[in-house]
């Protein structure tokens, strides 16, 4: 039955997350950005509330929630500040990988490391994008691999104790590796980042003849490809949900601002150039939210087009995010551009987010090619 009604449990979680976002995350956002790290007290509190364990399997002490529940909670948290949410330590995107293979022996050390409460940070490094290598060379050598080169900037890389790496070796075989900083050497090279998500620990990872043995391999070949594809589908939906949270923040802040700001003798809300733009922001945000929910339920149900739907989803939500955060700055005028108001940061964070997570146009074309290549009915 078609319904847009969250469950009681989801509502309770969302209320908790939304209150926390408004009362604790939002006020800390600027400070975290300046320090280029989320404050440890904030992290501790978020961890206590269980928000870092939504995706992790129950056998790991996680909440193992369905995506449809997670997307609502992540949206509520990101309503506080996307920059803070993206800087939270812990399993990060790798949680979606761990969820698929909770009992994998290569993960044992990391699993144990998280037993006492706070979990070490993992960065998920994608060294290959749709068959195109991204700065890293992986060569098979003597039963293992040798890694060389410098990756693209990756979120959480500056804080990472572990790396999940998706790559292809020199023969084109897909690989999923799990690297522990304790028994390897990689260098996190932090660049001069100014655009946004400055507390998210973006850095490039450099490898100099790093030797990786078979017991650092999570999977290879078709198995690695399948696993990666599944994990990425989940990650796209979760990232899109965070983006909706930022859109809601921009929408709600702009509504309040334009309702009280006066010009030409009246609230600027009364000018249709303003109110119609706000209506468009609302429509865009709601449309994006529904698309996220739709992809989440598709993935939860294991529908065959869940993966393709996650491509187009993220592409559209990126576009919506750019539109809504830009509109917020525009409607605040000069105040939108200065740092006394949050919206300039939100627009920067939004742009950085869309750059980090898949090229918007490319995601769209990939989805379109799928549509043209197979019969996917749009009928519901």
């Amino acid at each position: 039955m078609i319904s847009f009604q969250p469950t009681e449990e989801e509502r309770a979680f969302v209320d908790l997350a939304k209150d926390f976002a408004e009362e604790r995350i939002r006020p800390m956002a600027r400070e975290c950005e300046e320090k280029r790290q989320v404050s440890p007290e904030l992290v501790e509190k978020i961890n206590e509330l269980g928000f870092l364990a939504l995706e992790l399997p129950e056998s790991w002490g996680g909440l193992e929630m369905p995506l449809i529940s997670q997307v609502q909670i992540l949206e509520a948290l990101s309503f506080g500040d996307l920059g803070v949410v993206q800087g939270l330590p812990g399993a990060g995107e790798a949680a979606s990988l761990i969820r698929l293979i909770p009992e994998h022996s290569v993960l044992n050390v990391y699993r144990e490391a998280g037993r006492e409460g706070s979990r070490p940070t993992v960065a998920f490094l994608h060294a290959v994008d749709n068959g195109t290598p991204q700065g890293l060379k992986v060569e098979a050598e003597g039963g293992g691999y040798v890694l060389n080169g410098t990756s693209q900037p990756v979120r959480l890389a500056a804080f990472a104790d572990y790396l999940a790496v998706s790559a292809e070796d020199s023969r084109g075989e897909p690989l999923l590796l799990w690297l522990d900083k304790a028994d390897g050497r990689w260098h996190a090279e932090e660049g001069d980042y100014r655009l946004g998500l400055l507390a998210s620990g973006c850095a490039r990872i450099r490898f100099d003849n790093e030797r990786v043995s078979q017991n650092q391999v999570l999977a290879k070949g078709d198995e690695a490809q399948g696993m990666l594809s599944k994990a990425l589908s989940r990650i796209r939906v979760l990232e899109a949900a965070k983006e909706v949270g930022l859109m809601e923040a921009a929408l709600s802040y702009t509504t309040g601002y334009t309702a009280q700001r006066k010009a030409f003798g009246q609230e600027i809300a009364k000018f249709q150039g303003v109110s119609f733009a706000l209506a468009d922001m609302a429509i865009e945000t709601q449309a994006a939210r529904h698309l996220v929910w739709r992809s989440a339920t598709k993935t939860d149900r294991g529908e065959s087009d869940a993966r393709d739907s996650s491509f187009s989803l993220l592409s559209r939500v990126h576009r919506s995010l750019r539109f809504v955060t830009d509109s917020a700055v525009q409607l605040l005028g000069g105040h939108g551009y200065v740092q006394e108001f949050p919206v300039e940061k939100w627009m920067r964070d939004a742009q950085a987010q869309t750059v980090l997570y898949g090229r918007e146009g490319d995601l769209l074309v990939r989805c379109g090619e799928q549509l043209l290549n197979e019969r996917i009915p749009t009928e519901v």
Binding site: A282, I283, H290
Partner: protein, 405 residues
């Protein structure tokens, strides 16, 4: 629980209506557009099958009594069924859909504001055992469209009823309708509080259709101009009766009847637009698969356009479903109804235009696409223009902040 899976009943309605759209509407679609009317024999056949357009809820040919029993047992889902069915009808042919027998847009005001006697009198005439009949809804005037408060048709109280004078334009099925819900003012100086809604029956002296409009699209749908010249309407045809307006005291009256209607009909109109967009998308997807080489600039562009179109359609559908769902669970849905209508009207035209682009000049001749494009444009205009939908949406957004825009 959030779910986008149709129940078996919803799926069944969708399947039945789709079958009808594909096998009964599509074959006469281009011809009806050319003739500028839906063939009478077709309408008679359809009516005998019990197929009607009821915008209050879609009954898909079920017996009324059965339906009432079902309603009691389970969650209300009339609005969701209506948008599911309307999408298929829009896919089939929106002009023919608007011409299906039944109370049409006149149904919701009678349903929501009529007295029990009026509901019985006006809504019971639609039957498969009778000739096909229609209802209509007459609000727009030459000088008052979006601004409903500006209507000039007057209703003067006289012994036993009212005398109407004025003109109405753009009235769907206005000439063929057995009755028309007509909005008029008893006193222009009262503004919205002076508005009244009357049910004017066909053949009432002083009421006639003066002209049928020729249009860009939905040509098979009848768009009438109506004239009221000293037209006497008995008291019992005042929608809701005198008591309805007296009890409301200072509150807006006929205006509220008019607006309440929109919260119900906008999602239905939006879903027809979605049906048009889907028809264009599916047609073009199929065409590109057959006609385009599997590489190169055109193919790349087609991938992008079609992926975007699919997203637009999906997003519009979900907005529309939400508006319908809210109505079903009894929550206010004015904002959602306006949002889904604004979005669907816009994307429908956009999807059609992009699909025409992919067909190139070949799209000009003998393709359903150019018709879909012409049909789609009205969905950005009727039942409240895109701008009015923005206004309603903004009003709802600012309301908690105490600003009336």
């Amino acid at each position: 629980m959030i779910s986008f899976e149709m129940s078996s009943h919803q799926q069944q309605v969708k399947d039945v209506v789709h079958w009808f759209a594909e096998n009964e509407m599509r074959p006469i679609s281009m011809e009806a557009d050319k003739m500028g009317r839906v063939p009478d024999d077709w309408l008679e056949k359809i009516n005998q099958l019990g197929i009607q357009l009821s915008t209050s809820s879609f009954d898909g040919g079920e017996q009324k009594s059965e339906k009432k029993e079902k309603k009691r047992k389970s969650e209300r889902q009339g609005n969701r069924l209506a948008v599911i069915a309307s999408e298929e009808l829009g896919w089939g042919d929106p002009a023919i859909a608007l011409t299906l027998p039944g109370p049409g847009l006149g149904g919701p005001p009678v349903q929501s504001s009529g007295t029990p006697e009026q509901k019985e009198r006006f809504l019971s005439i639609f039957s498969k055992d009778e000739p096909p009949r229609w209802g209509a809804y007459a609000l727009t005037e030459p000088d008052a469209g979006s601004d409903v408060s500006g209507i000039r048709t007057t209703a003067k109280k006289v012994e036993g009823g009212y005398v109407l004078n004025g003109q109405k334009i753009f009235i769907t099925n206005g000439a063929r309708a057995s009755w028309v819900v007509v909005f008029a003012t008893v006193d222009r100086s009262l503004g919205r509080a002076g508005h009244r809604a009357f049910v004017v029956e066909k053949g009432t002296p002083g009421f006639r259709c003066t002209r049928l409009a020729r249009k860009m699209g939905i040509r098979a749908s009848e768009t009438a101009e109506l004239l009221f010249e000293d037209c006497f309407v008995p008291e019992e045809n005042l929608l809701g009766g005198e008591a309805y307006y007296e009890s409301r005291g200072s509150g807006p009256s006929g205006f509220q009847v008019a607006m309440k209607t929109f919260d119900n009909t906008r999602p239905i109109v939006a879903s027809m637009a979605i049906g048009i967009a889907r028809a264009a998308y599916e047609y073009t997807l199929d065409w590109v698969r057959r006609e385009y080489p599997r590489h190169g600039r055109f193919y790349h562009r087609a991938s992008e356009v079609l992926a975007n179109a699919e997203l637009d359609i999906e997003a519009a559908r979900l907005l529309t479903w939400e508006a319908a769902w809210k109505a079903d669970i009894g929550q206010p849905n004015a904002k959602e109804a306006a949002m889904c209508k604004a979005y669907s009207g816009k994307i429908a035209l956009d999807v059609c235009a992009k699909c025409l682009e992919l067909l190139g000049p070949a799209g000009l001749e003998n393709h359903i696409l150019e018709k879909l494009y012409r049909d789609a444009k009205i969905f950005d205009i009727f039942e409240g223009t895109n701008q009015i939908q923005h206004l309603v949406t903004a009003r709802q957004l600012y309301e908690p902040h105490g600003v009336r825009v």
